[in-house]
Amino acid sequence: MQSFFSFFRLFACTAAFFALPVLAQPVIPGVLSSEKAAVSAPAAVSAPAPTASPAEEPGIECATCHKEQFDNMAVSRHGASGDARTPWGKAGKEGRNEMCTACHGKADEHMEDPIEKKPETSFNKKTKAEDKNKPCASCHVGGNRMHWSGSPHESSRTACSDCHKVHIKKDPVLVMETQPGVCFTCHKDVRSHTMRVSSHPLRSGQMGCTSCHQPHGTVGDSLLIKNTVNETCYTCHADKRGPFLWEHPPARDECTNCHQPHGTNNAPMLQVRTPYLCQQCHMAVQHPSAVYSGNNLPPNAAGDKILAQGCPNCHVKIHGSNHPSGVRFMR
């Protein structure tokens, strides 16, 4: 019940946030969406004919055949004519909105012979990735796309349209729950890893791939949202950041030395089971160097280093300790 009250508080904050625009701007005068709705509403619901003249807005001509794509574009970010940066808002050579031609280029021949002739830029499998990306890059060049050029996805000739869908109302790769399905198209091993018994909450939709990755290019090796692996992990696990009095070198070096963040069979997402993982670096006198096997399982009583957490049954502060007596990560 407490969580419900806490959630109620959370919601109250959110409601207040959303009440702001309503109070500040209760109703925007005039018709706001109706013109767009006239174009976008499906025929079965309501479909007044397009009001704009084809001569003024070349995209309207495209809607004659590509109605679904056109309608969906019209209700998307790209279809906001009030935003001068969008294809719908951009002023073309003749002062017209470019609409479809902003990305597809000239389509005069295509309209004369729709079967044999294609628009200047087609987004099909035969088109080179760099040609498909040109229209996107003509606007989306800064911000998160700044490091696209030379990035792993660019180097492997990934096209923007391989991941993004602009002709549907909601792009699946921009929704947290549906995003992994897009990434799994190529990263199939990761799909399998997320099914492991110990994994981040990707499978249940609390995280998306972009919670950690920045697919448009970064300075690091694995397209992470931060410059390094550890900086990325610290965005949620800041308690592991330190610095600590007693540092554990592999933890300071890179979290993935021990963890496989996509999921493993070895909780908590360890690359290798304890105590064997620890013994790949630690071979000290007595128990750290002992060989562990079925001899250490019940009913034998020598499983203190192997059962449950293994070595961290005692060495619990394995990410680093700030206790003056924590040199062996036991405090």
Partner: protein, 780 residues
């Protein structure tokens, strides 16, 4: 379904009022709606939840307790659950104004409400509230009272454990009390952006994470030398993290610039955990440190702070030549007050003051990255980059006279003797490891005829360890060569084949260095060592690695797509060579041979066959199978002293750790055109096995076989919807979720299964759950 864009105003009050009412209803605990418990596994998701305005209410029933199944969602117990989803969105094309409100899984313990509004190209504001619950185990039992707090006590009437838990099974089992290990994280986010003119944009995002609950930890008393005893116990979690990211962007077609400031502050509300020692004092402990007077105290994660300043930029010299760069400076700080060396109630003799009251920990991280991309002759793409990363640990180092697990007197430093000359393993210097990396990359690709292209690349990375006296090597160098052949999509096929060779080498390996840097001179001259000198930790060891990656996508017909992907690599660790002079730290007469210990080999591979089929309009189906493996082989030597046994090759052992997984997914969805229903089914089967094989030489007790740790999950779901009328949509979902596991980490264990650790009786996760849900969506 009606489109998101309706004829109504974008900012009418009605959707907000409905959202408020519906969420209040859900928050009151009503049982409603279909859960979203498994994400779509392929790129054919039903997006109607996100592109339609609706409120969905309903309920579902879970037939069994299934803690692991609901570990992240909260569907952990048998019973009825309520869930609501909502989505309100609208945008106006003429003013470019928009708003969006999305609620997910509102009736579950893990839920989220997010939204944003603004005007494209002018400003935007966003907010999100999310609660994530995580159940680690609902089978754990502990001997302590006060779980979740920072002081754990033993129940009245508890008799001390006389050192060996199996002999005290009754004492332990009589005190056990159930306590689930679960955590909650509430996340609040708010952000905004505003555009200035046509080229400038300012963005600010704030995130607050509030974490609570309990984790699992171990409280050890005593230390090395055969006298440690531990008990697993609940770890209190009560902390929060604040993050601010502010960016200023300037974008033109020719050049782009972004300045960023990032701030992160971690605050822990609990500085330590104290527990009552359940063990009677044993040899080597001061008497009062045992039960009932003895206590242990561990430090919890200290508060810390991070500032980062970053400048990123890109410049197009020509349409095909671009330079990008990043310069970043980050500062990690930690200065929490130290706890004392030990609790002061155990009768311990304290002889030395702490060298300082807090660490004054400082690590500065400087990063520079420059990348130039260009093209020659329209076919040759060239990319060159340089990266520099300096992790400079400025934390002061001092000598600490540590107390072993709250049970021993502090070492006595004789008057007139310099502490550094004292021979004691309990006198230790902290280390401040730093490193500098320089990276260079060259990547070229050339377009051949018929859609083929070939790519070659070379990466070089040098890591200097500073101060090198703390590290076994001064530096390591990595060289990577790669070659890739790619065939661009023809009418029916596209694919690639990549081979990569990676090699790491470095300076001489001196196994004495880390030991000498951490201990007093008086100790190191006694001829001891901390880790077998022939250990080559995989972090800095030499290795050779080969990697092959292949991908083939085939589209034999418009309705059918197949893909085959494969990844394989093998990494062989090569030392550097063992048994040299630097490895001979043993007592006279004992010679280390040239057999290295540590990780020797790593193998990873994954192969997938995947198909998607759309035989009819509205009908789509998929199937995939993945086999994957990650395996490591390692060498060890079991020794009981730093003399004869350490040099005895008959005490060698090996271990091979394998992880093999099989995943199958099958699904189909039918959305007939002009009909008022849709239906879908998905099935996921996953089976993992983790065998461990060990071998030991004749000087050791022969190891016996380990049972394989195995987990097998099945998840099958039938789902669909039916349009009752234009406004109402009925959704249904029936699912079966099953996990069968056997894991030697937990199987057949009781709290008193081992000699020196009291276990929490955690049970290997299993479940067998049926779920049935029905919900109704009001669409507007």
């Amino acid at each position: 379904m009606k489109k998101i864009s309706s004829k109504k105003s974008v900012f009418t009050k009605r959707p907000l009022a409905l959202a408020l009412v519906s969420t209040l209803f859900l928050s009151s605990g009503a049982a409603l709606a279909e859960p979203m418990l498994m994400i779509p596994l392929t790129n054919n998701a039903d997006m109607s939840r996100y592109d339609t305005n609706y409120i969905e209410l309903g309920g579902f029933y879970s037939s069994k307790d299934a803690g692991k199944f609901g570990e992240w969602t909260g569907v952990t117990k048998k019973g009825t659950y309520g869930i609501g989803h909502l989505n309100f969105a609208d945008r106006n094309d003429q003013t470019a104004s928009y708003y969006n409100l999305l609620g997910r899984n509102l009736g579950l313990d893990s839920r989220q409400v997010s939204g944003n509004f603004g005007t494209q190209g002018k400003y935007g504001l966003s907010a999100e509230v999310a609660q994530i619950k995580h159940l680690t185990s609902d089978t754990t039992r502990f001997i302590f009272e006060g779980a979740g707090g920072n002081a754990l006590t033993l129940p009245a009437g508890f008799a001390g454990v006389p050192g060996q838990p199996p002999a005290s099974a009754d004492v332990i089992s009589g005190a056990l009390q159930p306590h689930d290990i679960r955590q909650k994280r509430d996340i609040y986010k708010i952000g905004g952006n505003v555009f200035f003119g046509g080229t400038m944009e300012a963005l600010v995002n704030y995130r607050y994470d509030d974490r609570g609950g309990t984790g699992l930890t171990g409280g050890a008393m005593g230390n090395t030398g055969g006298n440690p005893r531990s008990v697993l116990m609940p770890l209190p979690l009560n902390d929060h993290t604040q993050q601010i990211e502010a960016k200023l962007r300037w974008n033109t077609d020719k050049a782009q610039l972004e300045g960023m400031y990032y701030f992160s502050k971690y605050s822990n509300n609990v500085d330590s955990l104290t527990w009552q020692n359940p063990y009677n004092a044993i040899a080597g402990w001061v008497p009062d440190s045992g039960f009932p007077t003895g206590h242990g105290r561990m430090g919890l994660m200290p508060d810390n702070l991070y500032h980062q300043f970053q400048l990123s930029g890109g410049y197009n010299f020509t349409p095909i030549t671009r330079l990008t760069g990043v310069a970043s400076y980050g500062m990690m700080r930690q200065n929490d007050a130290f706890l004392p060396y030990a609790v002061d109630t155990n009768g311990i003799a304290f002889n030395t003051e702490l060298p300082r009251k807090s660490l004054d920990g400082k690590v500065d991280n400087t990063l520079l990255d420059l990348k130039l991309t260009t093209r020659f002759f329209d076919k040759l793409n060239v990319k060159a980059s340089y990266g520099y990363n300096n992790v400079n640990n400025k934390t002061p180092t001092d000598l600490y006279s540590y107390i072993a697990g709250d049970t021993t007197d502090q070492v006595v430093i004789p008057p007139g003797t310099a502490p550094n000359d004292v021979n004691s393993v309990r006198l230790r210097y902290n280390k401040a490891p730093s490193r500098v990396q320089n990276k260079f990359r060259l990547d070229t690709s050339y377009s051949l005829a018929a859609g083929y292209s070939v790519r070659g690349y070379y990466n070089y990375k040098k890591t200097d360890y500073k101060p090198s006296i703390d590290e076994p090597r001064d530096y390591t160098e990595d060289n990577i060569f790669g070659l890739e052949l790619r065939k661009r999509a023809s009418a029916w096929a596209t694919g690639s084949l990549k081979y990569e060779y990676q090699q790491r080498r470095g300076s001489d390996y001196d196994s004495r260095r880390p030991y000498e840097a951490g201990y007093t001179d008086g100790t190191t001259t006694a001829g001891l060592f901390d880790v077998l000198p022939t250990m080559r930790p995989f972090l800095v060891a030499d290795y050779d690695q080969s990697k092959v990656k292949t991908m083939l996508f085939v589209t034999p017909a418009d309705a059918l797509t197949f893909s085959l992907t494969g990844d394989w690599y093998q990494r062989d660790y090569k030392g550097p060579g063992c048994g040299g002079p630097n490895d001979q730290l043993l007592q006279p007469g004992n010679v280390m041979d040239n057999r290295c210990v540590g990780r020797q080999r790593g193998i990873g591979q994954s192969y997938t066959i995947d198909g998607q089929w759309s035989p009819l309009d509205g009908l789509s189906a998929y199937a995939f199978y993945t086999w994957s493996q990650f395996k490591t082989d390692q060498n060890g030597r079991s020794y009981t002293n730093t003399g004869p046994t350490a040099a005895d090759p008959t005490r060698d052992w090996t271990a091979s750790l394998d992880n093999r997984g099989n995943t199958i997914g099958v699904g189909a969805r039918y959305v007939p055109e002009e009909r008022n229903f849709d239906i879908g089914v998905q099935y996921v089967w996953n089976s993992d096995k983790s065998p461990v094989d060990t071998w030991a030489g004749p000087g050791l007790v022969a190891p016996t076989a380990m049972p394989d740790a195995k987990y097998r999950t099945d998840y099958v779901q039938l789902y669909g919807s039916y349009m009752l009328n234009e406004k109402l949509k009925l959704r249904f979902s029936a699912a079966y979720a099953h996990l069968r596991g056997s894991d030697w980490k937990y199987d057949n264990t009781t709290a008193s299964s081992t000699n020196s650790v009291i276990l929490p009786e955690q049970v290997t996760a299993r479940y067998n759950d049926y779920l049935l849900g029905l919900s109704i969506a009001y669409i507007f």
